[in-house]
Amino acid sequence: MTDPYSFRDHSGHVIIKGERIYRIITSAGLADFQKFYSHPLWNILQDKGKIQRSRLLTSSECNKLALEGDVAAIIEHEVLPLISYPYEWPFEALRTAALYHLQLHLELLEHGFTLKDASAYNIQFDGASPLFIDILSIKPYQDGEYWLAHNQFIQHFLAPLLLNAYSAMPFQLWLRSSLEGINLAALTKLLPLRTRLNYRLWLHLFLPVGFSLNSVPRANKIIRPSRNLPKKVMTMMLKQLAHIIARLPSPKRGYTAWENYSHSNSYDEKTKEDKIRVVRNLVTEISPSTLIDIGCNEGHYSRIALNSGARRVIGLDIDGTSLDRAFLLANKQRQKFTLLIQDLANPSPSQGWLNKERFSIFSRLKADCVMALAVIHHLAIGRNLPLIDIAQMLLTLAPHCLVEFVSKEDPMVKLMLSQREDIFREYNLDQFSKAIHLAGGTILFSHQLTQSTRVLLHIKRKQP
């Protein structure tokens, strides 16, 4: 199967065979690849964990794959546990990815190589650490060449960050519907006037956009690079962009209901201790290689899971502020904790060319255990979703689920229902238990938390 998202590159494409991932290099891409492969940088960057670990297949291994068409060489890539997209990353993750991209480009330039594109989709996260995955983007640097991917870098990295930093608009919504990146002409109209006073921003955004808008297309006047761009100038451009991005203010979001949720919820200390104990015991028992934490907030219980034997955790939440905090901590401590913005009532769909260019979040998530602590009432009452659908969603994600069910007697649910009609007659533990059974699950244990009406359930998917 050809990975549909790699079809645009004529120098090669990715194929997936079973559990293994190969990159086919065509005759058009062979010369550039050979130069990179024969350079010490190939090993140095892999050893530093800066590019995806890969190996060149021998000719007998290539023959075994029996591939047809233009196949000049094949490399096998290490399989990543999760593929995520920039429109799922919190602000601080995109900032980290942008700085990482620039730093890698500077390192490549020092050794006589460059990057031929600047797609944010070429970066993935291993835990909370960025990793460059598109080996064929690396090519030898030709003296005086232009940085043709400058515009792409602005659209994929700088523009979404600026949007989020200077307005209350989360970039993920725009980036999700515009896979080529943010429309720069539209962005310049949304940014405050003071951003025009920043000469670096003026150079990299306002000047090029102004020039593009005022250019009149003429068939007999084709614009081509007319002068050589000294390497020093390209380096300076990369450093200027790093300077802008590193100093961007954190997003102006105002107060969000989830900010400080872990401190403002309705638990007392004993309830919290009891909850931590149950989470710790269950994770130790299952010792999942991947655990999904739905509604992870700032990642308190995700970190408990990591410390109790989960090899990696994928945290999903709707709130960017909480995810930013969790990401910065996970990145600093190099935790295997990946954080994604997801509204489960409207999750990332399959989209792009033929709806196959980017995969839906549910087709990419695989785990041994899913944790949904104090989330069900937000989906069932907050978003009017049927309990049976919620139960099916949980059991699709993983064979083991740890669910905290919050009843209508809980102060937080009472608060939710205080300003709306209670049409949720079916919302109770009995109905949820029935929904679990109908969805193909068994409740292995049920534990009411100390001094609380909340109940923790360990659910297991029945064998088919």
Binding site: N151, P217, R227, P230
Partner: protein, 76 residues
């Protein structure tokens, strides 16, 4: 009449310039040509400045000593 004026205003205010033939990257190309020219001018000025400096400023003693020390090392 008011409707026509409103429609014209809407068209002027809301229409976006077309990118059908001009790639948005053209602006970035322009920026890099602009920077390349600036670098060329900067390079020219710096060469000229060094030339002027050499006309009016004699090399300092310390520098002369350093240069000769360097030659000495080479001979060794």
């Amino acid at each position: 009449m008011h409707f026509k004026i409103a429609a014209i205003l809407m068209f002027i205010l809301l229409s976006n310039p077309t990118y059908a033939y001009i790639d948005p990257g053209t602006g970035s190309m322009f920026l890099q040509t602009f920077l390349a020219i600036l670098a060329m001018i900067g390079g020219g000025i710096s060469v000229f400045w060094k030339y002027l400096k050499n006309l009016f400023v004699k090399p300092s003693k310390a520098k002369e000593n350093k240069d000769s020390a360097g030659l000495g090392n080479q001979c060794d």
